[in-house]
């Protein structure tokens, strides 16, 4: 079967690509568009390392097909910093040492941004449940949760 021709927006840039029906959005991002910031930890939607937003909605890109995203807006970790300026979450993750190996970090950051966009003042429990779909094996989550809470507090002060 012929490949699908897809046009979409990734981090504000229009992109077009060809993909097989069975290729996931994650495959397209990583292999075709060489945006390897989104990670594949399980390919079953359990680890969240491939988190991106699709028209503003948080999804696991391993559970979305490449041919489904025509005309849609995709935001990945690569689009999070603006020019030289890190997103406040990125900065706080560094200050709080909220990463060790860093493999889960892109997905966690994308998911956390999605949370703060809809809720500027989440409780610790809300942060923990929102990030329950993002596995981290290194940190025990402690510093991740603190970094997200601290970012939310800083953003509220602005």
């Amino acid at each position: 079967m012929a490949k699908h021709h897809v046009t979409a927006t990734v981090n504000g840039d229009e992109v077009e690509f060809l993909c097989e029906t069975e290729e996931t959005l994650l495959d397209v991002l990583r292999d075709t568009l060489t945006l390897t910031g989104s990670k594949e930890g399980c390919s079953s939607g359990d680890c969240g390392a491939c988190s991106v937003t699709l028209d503003g909605r948080l999804v696991c890109s391993c559970l979305v097909l490449g041919c489904e995203v025509g005309g849609r807006r995709i935001e990945t970790i690569e689009g999070m910093a603006k020019g030289e300026t890190l997103h406040p979450l990125q900065r706080k993750f560094l200050e709080h040492a909220a990463l060790q190996c860093g493999i889960c970090t892109p997905g966690v950051l994308v998911a956390a941004r999605s949370l703060l966009e809809r809720d500027p003042d989440p409780s610790e429990t809300e942060v923990r449940y929102w990030l329950a779909g993002n596995l981290c094996r290194c940190t025990g989550y402690d510093k991740i949760i603190k970094a997200v809470m601290d970012t939310a507090a800083e953003l509220r002060r602005r």
């Binding site: 390897t36 990670k39 079953s44 190996c101 449940y129 993002n134 596995l135």
Partner: protein, 768 residues
């Protein structure tokens, strides 16, 4: 006064001990950092592995001809592509390896020994073609009876995995082969006499299940072999020098022709200290003459890598009525997986290490069964034996009506204590960690109904080993730092701080990288909690060379004798009479005149690090049991552990918190579940249930610092001890909450509910 650190070592400044931003951080929060699967080469092929569908079978024949003929298939490898290896045990850090077994685990030869055991590998131009090729490989199996459970595997009539395996460590040598590879024993004093002195004796049996390291990044490797045999490998590993050694040995290559670059590594915890894909990728690339990239799926990771042993354990301890431990006995039966080499030896050695007991005897058995070969997992072996001992210590505390922290304090190992496994301890921090948890607000906060508080201590040796690192002073005074142990959680930050303090340059001016195997001398892997400990020592050596060189240059410049110049507080200074005539020169000052004073400036540290200090920790947990569902919720958690000196406190805390979280998973949920067919039933993150953010509370980390006298900065390894205490701390807390002593891990909701039902204790939480 020259500045010194807490350990009497001269330093120029004190970044060490502060919470700097890690130099590799920005790349990791922007998605720029390249992990194993993020690397690609032009013209690369896709490699895939054919794995055994059986738990145990003889391979009658492998026919790859149809796969080879499929257009797009560029190479197929089987056992025939790897020369056989003789049986010989080689020490490798905390474990022993035998290449006869390594080659068989990389690709099965006579038999497949577990579901997922690799049988063949293909390289093709696309994933689809590679997958089709695997289906065209015809393997004829003669299916054999299998054995999964460790106790069953030890029975005389159990299916035999290796016809030539005779139990080592027993006299006389057994007449028949068995699945028991080895018997080990340590003893101290007279165990019978010890029990005769005891007023109270507790004897219990325990089981633990295999648990996987659970790194989020699956194994990944790219290999490229050129026509002259030059081999390049990029892979996610805890030790690229070890990958080089293994690949060279398995494929008959000169070590000097193999260059391995470690990618950023997405977690390892011991599981990436061995090779799985790398030799296959090299063999495929050698045949195809093109680069080959291989990445495991999560299912492959679960079925064919890691995990650590499950075990069956007997513990018997005796104490006098005033709370003195007088005898400790244990029998440990550890699953090794398909090939011998479980961590039963360290399990035996660690079992009673936290205590000063005159009479100890621990026996261990290393047992093979039809499971994936175990790999190291954080303090390999120790969490299993110490779970059992620390559970029994808690029972003794209850019987003796002594507070569990007090009982531990009465018996704790201290400086000068002779450990049952051999050495006399130097300065150690176990007592300090016990006092630290006792002083927490948590320890005295009242608990509610169905809530319990548990405590447990833990020990790990830590290691040093072969380490090389270099420092280069660049023309503008910045410093390039190269280390050879992959950085999994802050190593580059820590070593950059040490280099800055040694040389008196700003931390931000030190740029650390992890060099490939061609750039430095041999480095043992990141494991054994050694990388920061040994790396810092190598950096101190490298800096020493630079300082001596700069002093010699200054002596020439200033026309002074060598002993009239010294490096102090970040500057080369003249000493004695007339010293003020010469303006002290910093490293950056020398960088500007390097060409005129002797050429490029650099130092090289090349050491076999000795003097690793053991690290002890104590964990305190408050939890609640839901009597309706059997679910255990962790309410509060505190880790107190001796770091010696925390170079970067945040990343030391991170080790404590992460180890505790893994231990909580081990205690409450994680396990390998097999069907009667010998196949793994939960090879995915949905069914292999690791802790998620909503499962855990904040984990308080208390940094106890009893400096290691044998390290210039006082450092002890910290990465492994944190996974040792959680299982017992949680079992002890559940016992206090319910009155039920759970001895089988994981203490999962169905198990708790069943136990509550048997005692008529289960009911809706607020109902009747």
């Amino acid at each position: 006064m020259p500045q010194t650190n807490g350990n009497g070592h001269a330093v120029a400044q004190t970044y060490v001990g502060t919470r700097t931003v890690r130099p590799d951080g920005v790349d990791k929060v922007t998605g720029r950092a390249r992990f194993g699967a993020d690397f690609s080469l032009p013209g690369q092929l896709v490699g895939r592995v054919l794995r055994s569908p059986h738990a145990h079978a003889r391979i009658v024949a492998i026919d790859t001809s149809r796969a080879e003929q499929l257009p797009g298939v560029k190479a197929v490898v089987t056992r025939d592509d790897f020369p056989d290896q003789s049986s010989e045990f080689i020490p490798a850090g905390e474990m022993l390896i035998n290449y006869r077994d390594v080659v068989r685990n990389v690709l099965a030869r006579e038999k497949v020994l577990y579901e997922g055991h690799p049988v063949a590998a293909v390289a093709a131009t696309s994933v689809a073609i590679a997958k089709r090729a695997l289906k065209l490989i015809d393997v004829q199996y003669e299916v054999l009876p299998h054995v999964i459970d460790v106790v069953e595997a030890m029975r005389p009539d159990a299916p035999l995995l290796h016809e030539d395996l005779y139990t080592a460590g027993v006299e006389p040598k057994p007449a028949k082969p068995s699945n028991v590879a080895k018997r080990v024993e340590i003893s101290l004093g007279d165990i019978e006499a010890g029990f005769a002195k005891a007023d109270v004796i507790v004897e219990r049996e325990f089981t633990t299940q295999p648990v996987h390291q659970g790194y989020i990044e699956p194994h990944a490797a790219v290999a490229s072999v050129s026509e002259d045999g030059s081999t390049e490998i990029w892979c996610s590993t805890q030790g690229h020098f070890i990958v080089r050694a293994h690949c060279a040995r398995l494929l008959g290559l000169d070590i000097g022709k193999v260059r391995v670059t470690a990618s950023e590594i997405g977690g390892g915890f011991g599981g990436k200290t061995v090779v799985y894909l790398e030799p296959l990728a090299v063999a495929l690339s050698k045949k195809a003459k093109r680069p080959v990239k291989m990445v495991m799926s999560r299912e492959e990771v679960f079925k064919a890598s890691g995990p650590t042993s499950g075990a069956h354990i007997k513990v018997k301890m005796g104490a006098t009525k005033d709370g003195r431990f007088v005898a400790g006995y244990a029998e440990l039966r550890y699953q090794a997986g398909a090939f011998q080499g479980s961590p039963v030896q360290p399990g035996v050695m660690c079992a009673y290490a936290p205590y000063d007991i005159e009479n100890v005897k621990v026996i261990g058995y290393d047992v093979v069964s039809n499971r994936p070969k175990v790999a190291a997992y954080r303090a390999p072996g120790a969490p299993i034996s110490e779970f059992a001992v620390e559970s029994v210590v808690d029972e003794l505390a209850k019987k003796l009506e002594i507070d569990p922290v007090e009982l531990r304090l009465q018996n704790a190992a201290r400086e000068g204590t002779k450990a049952a496994y051999g050495p006399k301890f130097g300065p150690i921090g176990l007592v300090d960690t016990l006092h630290a948890v006792e002083k927490t607000n948590q320890y005295t906060t009242p608990l509610g109904e169905w809530q319990g508080r548990g405590v447990a201590s833990g020990f790990w040796f830590n290691i040093g080993g072969e380490t090389c690192a270099s420092l280069t002073v660049n023309e503008d005074g910045t410093v390039s730092l190269m280390a050879g142990t992959p950085d999994i959680g802050g190593l580059r930050a820590s070593l950059a701080m040490v280099a800055a303090d040694e040389l008196g340059v700003p931390y931000e001016k030190v740029r650390p990288i992890i060099g490939d195997t061609g750039s430095l001398g041999f480095n043992f892997l990141t494991g054994g909690s050694r990388s920061c400990f040994s790396g810092a020592m190598a950096i101190v050596e490298a800096a020493k060379e630079i300082k001596a060189d700069l002093c010699a240059r200054a002596a020439k410049l200033w026309d002074l004798k060598a002993d009239q110049v010294e490096f102090k507080d970040g500057h080369v200074r003249a000493t004695g009479a007339g010293a003020d005539k010469h303006t002290p020169m910093s490293v950056a000052d020398f960088a500007k005149v390097a060409g005129k004073t002797g050429g490029p400036i650099g130092g090289y540290g090349r050491i076999n690090a000795q003097g690793a200090g053991p690290s002890f920790g104590t964990h305190l947990v408050d939890l609640e049991v839901d009597p309706e569902t059997g679910r255990v919720t962790i309410l509060r958690y505190t880790v107190a552990q001796d770091a010696g000196k925390a170079i970067h406190p945040s990343y030391v805390e991170g080790q404590y918190q992460g180890g505790a979280a893994q231990g909580i998973g081990w205690a409450l949920n994680e396990e390998y579940i097999y069907g009667a067919d010998g196949k793994l039933q939960n090879a995915g993150f949905l069914d292999y249930r690791m802790p998620v953010a909503s499962d855990l509370p904040m984990i308080d980390a208390i940094l106890v610092e009893v400096p290691n006298p044998r390290h210039p900065y006082g450092v002890r390894g910290v990465g492994e001890t944190p996974i040792v205490p959680p299982m017992a701390a949680i079992a002890n807390a559940i016992e206090r909450a319910t009155g039920i002593r759970f001895t089988d891990l994981p203490i999962s909701p169905p198990k708790v509910l069943k136990a509550l039902r048997e005692r008529g204790l289960n009911h809706p939480k607020n109902g009747s």
